[in-house]
């Protein structure tokens, strides 16, 4: 008898005698246990579920192909992940104050949330910006606002992430210009710009131009940074928003990596060498409620990326092949009911991100289903990840869950299901044609609807919402953005426009438009324009004249 036969015999014996007797006709809590990707989770995993696993091929050692166990050899034993809380509200002055508060409490990186009018490239005075200024992030119109935002913060010492997409090239140029004024050269700058337009069409919906010219701007940024801002990550390929829009974990994994491959292909098409740009691609994932599913998602992401980068795109450098990512806990999982419970949800989600090997982490504030975070809530959120780091001991050994039958089985399963999605996307002609066919949008809308239906029919429980509800609960103190922020922002913009060299601005905008009609890299033109205090809105409007605008086909 082989070892396997022995094992099977013992397992059958256990199932019949021990498990069978213990259940003895009793009903389980549920007839089926399914995770958020609809994967059926059985009651017990055993060596049988990972019998095909060859350690070196599937897991490898941390910092080594296929990077399943982690991007770096010693992971958090050297240093913890970067604690990077996404923040931005009201005016540049107000947000600068919040940054100094967070840095003062031990935050190790900055992360800028921009006002919606900045995100869409409208000037504060545009009627489309009415009611929106500073409500969801910091209002930025010109370089002047960026100077105030980073006033007193040494940009050679801190890394900064900026969540901006359609106007990413403009905000990156402004950051380079602000650093220049602090006497810091571009090659010393560290940080990330989101600059991931594909997921905008798929999920977050803050687009400006159609996909094709948008892809050109992104490749321009990648090309420029590779040459002149070498420590910068010119793109953060994001699953976060795909998940927030309602996707499952597997869809988040598959669609994000598919977007990543699309950027790689676009950059190769431009003639860039994969090993020059791929080391500077970064990722951004969500961390939702199902603890093990999230951990497996990160591990599968590293393995899939490594395999494709090496085998399909022929990347040679280790840095091109290893996937590094930022994580934010799931905003959509926060409840407006009994909001303090969100602190516990965020703790579990943050822990999953750390056990999955994240490079940086944003833990949400408990009041975010109600408002932008108050100072108190933001501090608790930061403390949450500091407690995970300094008190729990989970960061002391690398990838501590590896080898778990369940974890390895689920990592494999999620990888297989993602590969299935890659095949479907390819059949549709690739990511951009699939966007035009509403493929991703429909998949996500279906998953979102199914999830809500499951909650409404008590197939899934959210404490305080459809289980253990309280009739009454106290609301915390809420942050409100003063309407005066709008007036202040419009006045400052008008003031800047009165005092700058408008003739020069016009010449630079004309030059930019001419360049946009050709194939030149546009970043130097944008950089020249922002240095003369040209507004985000003026640059976007000029580019719209050449590139046109995107219109979404509606689906419900």
């Amino acid at each position: 008898m082989t070892e396997l036969d022995d094992f099977l015999k013992e397992l059958t014996k256990w199932e019949e005698n021990i498990l069978g007797k213990s259940i003895n006709g009793k009903e389980m809590r549920q007839t089926q246990f399914k995770n958020l990707s609809d994967i059926d989770i059985k009651g017990l995993f055993t060596p049988l579920d990972i019998k095909e696993t060859k350690y070196i091929e599937k897991l490898g050692f941390p910092g080594q192909f296929p990077f399943t166990r982690g991007a770096y050899p010693s992971m958090y034993r050297g240093q913890f992940w970067t604690m990077r809380q996404f923040a931005g509200m009201g005016s540049a002055e107000q947000t600068n104050k919040r940054y100094k508060f967070l840095i003062g409490h031990g935050q190790t990186g900055l992360s800028v949330a921009f006002s919606l009018h900045t995100i869409y490239g409208y000037e504060a005075s545009d009627k489309r910006a009415l009611g929106e200024i500073g409500k969801e992030g910091v209002a930025i119109d010109t370089l002047k606002d960026m100077e105030i935002l980073f006033d007193g913060i040494d940009l050679s010492k801190i890394s900064t992430s900026m969540t901006i997409n359609a106007p990413a090239s403009i905000l990156l140029s402004m950051y380079i210009a602000v650093a220049g004024k602090q006497g810091i050269s571009p090659e010393k700058l560290r940080g990330t710009i989101q600059n991931d337009i594909l997921k905008e069409y798929i999920a977050q919906k803050s687009w400006v131009f159609p996909p094709e010219p948008s892809m050109r701007l992104i490749v321009d940024t990648i090309e420029y940074c590779t040459k002149y801002v070498p420590q910068w990550y010119p793109i953060s390929i994001s699953g976060y928003h795909i998940r927030e829009a309602g996707s499952t974990a597997v869809q988040e994994l598959a669609f994000t990596l598919a977007d990543g491959f699309a950027y790689v292909e676009a950059a190769i098409k431009r003639g860039l060498n994969i090993d020059d740009f791929a080391p500077r691609l970064s990722f951004f994932f969500n961390s939702h409620n199902n603890f093990f599913e999230e951990i497996c998602k990160y591990r599968a992401a590293r393995r899939i990326w490594a395999k494709h980068m090496r085998n399909k795109y022929n990347a040679k450098k280790k840095e091109s092949i290893r996937l590094r990512f930022h994580t934010q806990t799931a905003g959509v999982s926060l409840t407006a009911q009994e909001p303090e419970n969100n602190i516990v949800r965020v703790t579990l989600q943050g822990l999953a991100a750390v056990l999955g090997g994240t490079q940086s982490l944003h833990t949400n504030s408990f009041d975010e289903a109600l408002c932008l975070p108050t100072e108190k809530a933001a501090k608790i959120a930061l403390r949450t990840q500091q407690i995970i780091a300094y008190e729990s001991g989970v960061a002391d050994t690398v990838d501590p869950l590896a080898g778990s039958y369940y974890i390895e089985w689920l990592t494999d399963k999620m990888e297989q299901q993602a590969e299935e999605y890659f095949r479907r996307i390819e059949e549709l002609g690739g990511v951009i044609p699939a966007i035009h066919k509403n493929f991703f949008q429909t998949e996500i809308a279906n998953a979102a609807y199914k999830y809500q239906r499951e909650i409404d029919s008590n197939k899934r429980f959210i404490i305080g919402v459809n289980k253990f509800q309280s009739e009454k609960f106290e609301l915390p103190e809420l942050l409100a953005i003063e309407e005066a922020v709008s007036e202040h922002q419009i006045n400052r913009l008008n003031e800047i426009k009165k005092n700058r060299d408008n003739e020069k601005v016009n010449i630079l905008l004309t030059k930019l438009k001419e360049a946009a009609k050709g194939t030149e890299n546009l970043i130097p033109y944008i950089l020249d324009a922002v240095k003369e205090y040209t507004s985000v809105g003026e640059i976007i409007e000029s580019l719209k004249e050449v590139f046109g605008v995107y219109r979404e086909k509606q689906i419900i």
């Binding site: 009415l130 929106e132 409840t335 979102a448 609807y449 809500q452 409404d456 919402v465 609301l475 509606q554």
Partner: protein, 133 residues
């Protein structure tokens, strides 16, 4: 109203806010409950929304905002509807609307506020029992 007629709804996203998960889920639930739902899509100005109401003559206008622009944009929409003598359309709103803002919006003529975690059936029932015509 004539009970055999289908309830007609315009679901709209005012302003720049791109969070459309909620409104799409709600729109589908209303459709599954037998109502006719027209979704305007994102980034609608108050003028766009009022024009859609004039064209489609719905029983209900369902707005969704998560950006914090509700206190500015909802009253403008209500004023523009009133200017066109449209006073028999039920206007409901979903998204992130702090409790302290709902009384202000109620005074402006909005009824029905559905924040995060609202079961879909509650929205369906509310609409069915609060129609203005």
């Amino acid at each position: 109203m004539n009970k055999t007629r289908r309830i007609k709804i315009i679901a709209a996203k005012p302003g720049l806010d791109g969070h459309d998960r909620g409104i799409k889920v709600v729109a589908r639930a209303l459709r599954d409950a037998g109502m006719e739902v027209i979704y305007t899509g994102l980034h609608q100005t108050p003028e766009d929304i009022v024009n859609a109401v004039i064209q489609e003559d719905p029983d209900v206008l369902a707005l969704s905002l998560l950006s914090g622009a509700h206190n500015t944009l909802c009253p403008i929409i209500m004023e523009k509807l009133h200017e066109k003598n449209i006073d028999d359309v039920l206007v409901v709103v979903g998204g992130i609307i702090p409790r302290k803002d709902t009384s202000f919006l109620q005074k402006k003529g909005l009824t029905g506020f559905f924040g995060p975690g609202t079961p879909l059936q509650i929205i369906v029932d509310f609409i069915k029992s609060n129609l203005k015509r």
